[in-house]
Symmetry: C2
Subunit: 363 residues, 2 copies
DNA sequence: TTGTAGGCGTTATCAA
DNA sequence: TTGATAACGCCTACAA
């Protein structure tokens, strides 16, 4: 491995001290224009790039984030992974990727492996943080030391004080999304609208379900328990749930399905096709997340879309804020803490992408 | 941010020098069992973990790899990303993820951002390395300094010598895979087998196409130019290509389709359904890559499957080998170079996953 | 078996 | 405006 060119090499080449080179590369003030030029010259001729590793060691940020997901193969996560990676790189950070399909234990294990790596923050995009039954213990432990960002998991920081200052959230208002979806269906004339959720104990299911109920009530429709089913966030589960719903006697059968994600929705399409039910003529289907692979489906799904780009940007913004709040010795008064608490949560409003899978009910 | 506990803290707590602590954590020989115990004790009570950053600075590996893909949202890449990440973590490495959908320029840009990060190796899983028309220039430049691993891109190292020692490949024998697929179809009785490729200038398309032609010849079937079409590696493209093929007059129409990846194959399913063609009764379809989201499709695709796990393991093995060859001052003779050249390419044999999308031809 | 001290590439604090 | 020099946390001869 050809030896890495160092700040010393550049200093020698430019005929200055390493301190000066450092100043140039950190664009600090008081350095002569002519000198700066000479340094830059030398640096580029030598192909010099400062070592982030050494820089980190002096106590600065590592400019590295870690992103924890349960499984990148699940179409939702590539979306957020891509978006976060992009935003993060645009801000000069790098992104470590962690897949922990094995639940809280594995998450903890992976996160532990991060310990010597000086990551500036951990971004958690899913997994056991979504479980409404028990809060993963490792989360709070981790936040005692380093900043954390939760995507779409509304867990409160365990206390105020230092850890509250390292606990940020970006929340997509999926309840509002569900409401928009239902209202769209209602406005098309649907009255029998079913909800097909993921596991009932997962936060994303719960919120969407709430929105569904609320919107029905708003629309003057009585929620029918028979039309609310729960399963997995998968295509096969969607297939099963939809099949069950579609085999109800015609007067109790739904004319529209609101699926808690696009994989479930894809399963619904499947089920409809299997039973010769035309979409959207005889059945409308709405999905959630508006993921990339929707391009594989026909008809393309109407889906509640969140701006992944916004999520990515929110992440880097939050990281920045937390770094400020922790490093620059800004006043740690209660007042400051309180403003932080509010500013450390970013809310994102989803929009409804209307496509070909929805239309007026039959008849 | 609570100050990180250092080797000094542990040393003090255990009443030894930092050198001893270091020895313990690097499991070096000659350290008294009792001392070792005391150190470990102190370390765990303090929650100490060695700083990989500082360690890296002393000239050792950073135990960090970078993985470059064009777009994680494309179902093939999550598979390799997941597998590589797993294998890599199991070996104590971390993985930086880079998405460069923007072609060679963006790839180069992203890779440049890696410069100060001391990554041990760059793993390239796709992108402009697949373009058979021109070899990305940044690749060779990069390999002049740091080790590189190509997944499924058969680019030779530019020369022997140092850079050859940093140029590894893991190659899935997709030609053999295509042959297996065709032979499967032939053995079912198919004679009119179509090939639906991605872009004709991409390596994956080329190899699979070669296998297709070879297998036909082997089976005593004359390749029909009309049955060989090229498009994109996407569902919509697959839909278009398949639609064209299925609208051929019945005597020239294929009874089986070999798609160059599963997204194309998904498009084929689509096309068949649109035209009321039953799969597999009237049309057999084979895909490539056997990706996760196949679970969304019906019928499940027969597909040429590669062991992603093997790919991941190969990657860490290769990284290890390259580190040996570069660091331990092993003899850099021509002979050593030659053995390295052969050992730095791992070949993986795909298998055919037979599922419900293939069957005997009609009639 | 254990400790001392120099070095890894930067940044930051003082002087000059 | 610039240059010495001490950290940063760890590894590694070399001594003891």
């Amino acid at each position: 491995m050809a030896r890495r060119t160092t700040i010393y090499d550049v200093a020698r080449e430019a005929g200055v001290s390493i301190a000066t080179v450092s100043r140039v590369f950190n664009s600090l003030p008081r350095v002569d224009e002519e000198t700066r030029h000479r340094v830059l010259q030398a640096a580029s001729s030598l192909g010099y790039a400062p070592s982030i590793v050494a820089r980190t060691l002096t106590g600065k940020q590592s400019r590295t984030l870690a992103l924890l997901v349960p499984d990148v193969r699940n179409p939702y996560f590539p979306e957020v992974t891509l978006a976060v990676q992009r935003a993060v790189h645009a801000a000069g950070y790098s992104l470590l990727l962690l897949n922990a399909p094995g639940g809280a234990e594995q998450e903890e294990q992976y996160v532990a492996a991060l310990r010597g790596r000086h990551v500036d923050a951990l971004v958690v995009a899913g997994g056991s943080v979504h479980d409404t039954r028990n809060r993963p213990a490792w989360l709070d432990r981790y936040a005692m030391h380093r900043p954390i960002i939760l995507i779409n998991a509304d867990l409160e920081p365990p206390a105020s004080g230092p850890v509250a200052r390292r606990w940020a959230r970006v929340l997509v208002d999926e309840k509002a999304g569900a409401i928009k979806a239902v209202q769209h269906l209602v406005s098309l004339g649907h009255r029998r609208i079913a909800f097909l959720g993921g596991p009932a104990h997962l936060y994303p299911t719960v919120v969407k379900h709430q929105g569904y109920l609320e919107a029905l009530t708003l629309g003057g429709i009585d929620p029918d328990p028979e039309l609310q089913v729960f399963g997995e966030f998968s295509g096969t589960s969607g297939l099963e749930m939809a099949t069950k719903l579609l085999s109800l006697p015609s007067d109790r059968r739904p004319t529209a399905l609101l699926a808690a994600n696009d994989m479930i929705a894809a399963g619904c399409l499947q089920a409809a096709r299997d039973r010769g039910v035309l979409v959207p003529e005889q059945l409308s289907i709405v999905g959630f997340d508006d993921v990339f692979v929707n391009s594989l489906l026909w008809p393309p799904l109407t889906s509640v879309a969140q701006s992944y780009e916004e999520i990515g940007k929110a992440v880097v913004r939050l990281v920045g804020q937390m770094q400020m709040a922790t490093s620059d010795g800004s006043d740690e008064t209660e007042a400051a803490d309180n403003t932080l608490r509010t500013t450390l949560v970013v809310r994102i409003d989803p929009t409804l992408q209307v496509r070909a899978s929805t239309g007026p009910p039959p008849g």
